[in-house]
């Protein structure tokens, strides 16, 4: 776990935060709607990347 926390995987969080803030803020003009877009896109991106990570992890474990 500590290895994961210090690994390059951690760069995903600031990058997802930046991408969702900018993407969310370009979707609307009203702060409440912007916040909703930010949260929605952050969750969407993390789930999407998480699924890819799990698939690659399984493939890496499965393929010798």
């Amino acid at each position: 776990m500590s290895q994961l926390l210090t690994s390059h995987f951690m760069h995903v969080f600031p990058l997802v935060a930046a991408a969702s803030i900018v993407y969310g803020a370009t979707r609307d003009e009203r702060p409440a709607f912007i916040m909703a877009h930010i949260l929605r896109s952050a969750i969407w991106m993390l789930v999407f990347l998480g699924v890819i990570m799990v698939v690659l992890f399984v493939l890496g474990w499965w393929i010798p």
Binding site: H11, P14, L15, V22, Y23, A25, T26, E29, P31, A36
Partner: protein, 217 residues
Amino acid sequence: MVFYESPKGSVKVELGNRYLAALYAWLLPGAGHFYQRRYTKGLLFSLTILTTYFVGFWLGDGRVVYASWKTNDVRWQFVVQCFVGAPTFPAIIQAVNAKENVAPLWIRNYRYPASDPGGKPGTPAFSRVTDPKELTRLANRKIPDGFMAAPFGPVTTTDPDVLSAWHAELGHNFDIATLYTFIAGLLNLLVIYDAFAGPGMFFEGSEEDEDQDKDES
């Protein structure tokens, strides 16, 4: 004066001269929104994109944003990075300089040439010269590393060169820093669009937005 109006008419934004706003947005992230007096969004964009860009710049020791179209080093990532605007201009100046075969400006450090690796066993090729005596001894044979300049000299796929020395020094950070600065450029494309055409409220009136409307009221 150009205005943006959302499909349901709930949002109206004064875009001013949208071409000028887009130009400002490219020159400095968020500046287009400041020009349109959309200060909160301008500040949000400015802080987010410039932080992403400069964190990448710092992780890559200032070496990952450079323009180069040399054989074996076509830096296509720069095409996207340069959407961050003014912070990438030194790289363009350095590229123009390199095309005219002039030594890079703003030299940060020097490296040993391939023909003179420093004389110490185990010293990697093209390592940095730190000893002032060595700098004097090498005279004009030393290789300059300019600020935001492309790696000096030819880049090969078989022998060590300046680019491979950068990779050896930075390790994974070279690619991660490239990713940060690349994403900053991509995000500023969205911001330029927002300054030019207003927010992309293509789905206003969708179920999600109506739910949000109910929550608001």
